[in-house]
Amino acid sequence: MSAQIELFLQTLIAGILLGGLYALIGLGMALIMGVMRIINLAHGDLMMVAMYIAFFSYDIFHVDPYVSVLIATPALFLLGVGLQKFLITPVLKVESILPHNQVILTVGIGMVLSNLATVFFKSDYRSTPVDYATKAWYLSDFWRNSPIELSLSFAWSVSFVLAVVITAMLWFFLTRTDTGKSIRATAQDLDAALLMGVNVERMRMLTFGLGAALVGAAGCLFMPIYYLYPALGKQFTNIAFVVTILGGLGSTEGAIIGGVILGIFESMTATYLGMGWAPVGRFIIFVAVLVFLPGGVSSLLRSRRFGR
């Protein structure tokens, strides 16, 4: 019996830790979606780029992946701004029969990024075997007679804490700084923002850069606990998207909650059903949300705030 509880709690903890990281991944996409109404299907591939930066920093310069956050984040920011300025803006201006051009564009970008990575770095799995990778805290160390054993991985915890810190910093930026407020204004009402003198074009570049930077940071945080290969972008794009939909389109608070929910769900699925079913599980959540709760978690939050 206690083994069941132990397994459940362990899975739950793993899920929450994973969820924190998923939230960070989803936040970038939610921000981009909310402000620019763009679905960025290259989101996961941007994360992959950051992870390669972290990997090579470790491999060549022995820089710890957590420190790479400081390198990869600005790099991804610049990449995001560049993509927005040179590719996305022109596409939004062109007249075409199908309005989904920007989605197709991001698919193309993703293809180029992941294939270039395959060509340059080969499809081998890479990882950063830092010496603290297997370090963990055990419940029995603190509570001698505990009926169950729980372990808390050091690397996972650090990644989680850093993800929370970054999320908090983003929160602060969006709510307390002028630039952040301009971004939110652009998301809420484009025309009003224009009329108020907000430089919308600059906000868009900033937002895409910020979204890329966030997922870049997430990538670095994933390096110590995961492994890297060129095609991993796709699954993380899926994750980002499910988190965003689960949270409610464009809602940043929703993305955070959505990330944690997905993390817990995947952890449970992995433990009780098996690892291979993760993509299907995500799709089921995706469909379930769209059918039963199209506004996502944020619509629940909103109706509670205003009362019935």
């Binding site: 029969i97 619509s299 705030r305 205003f306």
Partner: protein, 240 residues
């Protein structure tokens, strides 16, 4: 019996009431104007009649049948057609094809649809433009096309949403003529409009909405002198 009965409809978005307890009736053959300041909820009322939103509260009856829960295409088939504020014709198709697409609702085959479309084009004065691609049309003709598309569904009632916005004076007169011709055909009209001249000159009755609630109803003369209406439109200027 009234053709359209709106009974106490409300529509909530989250906690915000866009429309609150609005009731009015539209008699067959009448032209009823729906006016109010920007953001008052007029288009939301249309969206509920049309079937895009179900009312959060209240019911809508058309020809005695409750239509509040039906989908827009079902409502169209029952005889209510509508135009949109932001006109978006089928851009890469000709004017004629645009109207044929609408005529298919009642037509059994393409030949019939084309005949009905031609007739509608002649009625709205677009016959000469029938082979032009709709994306090349100037605004005035695009608005006419929007009306033509709605008329091709052979409605008994037409909801016109700002069909006169952005028109120059001669286009405006043409629009008024077309609306009168539509009424003369026996089609009932409910029209949202900001052009006071248009509303006052063609409406039999006017319903005034502000902040989602009905604040007045009556003939154009009554509305023109109604202090509540005047205040709603000029409110801030008065108190300033």
């Amino acid at each position: 019996m009234s053709l359209l009965e709106i009974r106490g409809i409300s529509r909530f978005f989250g906690g915000l009431a866009a429309v609150s307890d609005v009731s009015f009736m539209v008699d067959k053959g009448a032209i009823v104007g729906l006016i109010g300041p920007n953001g008052a909820g007029k288009t939301t009322v249309f969206n509920m009649i049309n079937g895009f939103y179900a009312p959060s509260k209240g019911e809508i009856y058309f020809k005695g049948e409750k239509i509040s829960q039906l989908k827009p295409h079902q409502i169209c088939k029952r005889g209510i057609a509508r135009t949109f504020q932001v006109v978006k014709p089928l851009q890469r198709m000709t004017v004629l094809d645009n109207v044929i697409a609408s005529a298919f609702v009642r037509a059994r085959n393409r030949a019939q649809a084309e005949a009905m479309a031609m007739e509608t084009l002649k009625f709205t004065g677009l016959y000469d433009d029938r082979a032009i691609l709709s994306k090349s049309l100037p605004l005035g003709k695009r608005k006419k096309l929007e009306i033509a598309r709605a008329l091709a569904t052979q409605p008994e009632m037409l909801l016109l949403d700002e069909s006169c916005a952005g028109l120059n004076p001669s286009e405006l007169n043409e629009a008024i003529e077309i609306i009168k011709k539509i009424r003369d055909r026996g089609i009932t009209i409910l029209i949202i409009e900001h052009h006071m001249k248009v509303i006052m000159s063609i409406s039999d009755r006017i319903v005034v909405i502000n902040y989602g609630q009905k604040i007045a109803e009556g003939t154009p003369l009554e509305i023109r002198h109604n202090p509540l209406v005047i205040e709603a439109y000029l409110g801030e200027a008065q108190s300033a």
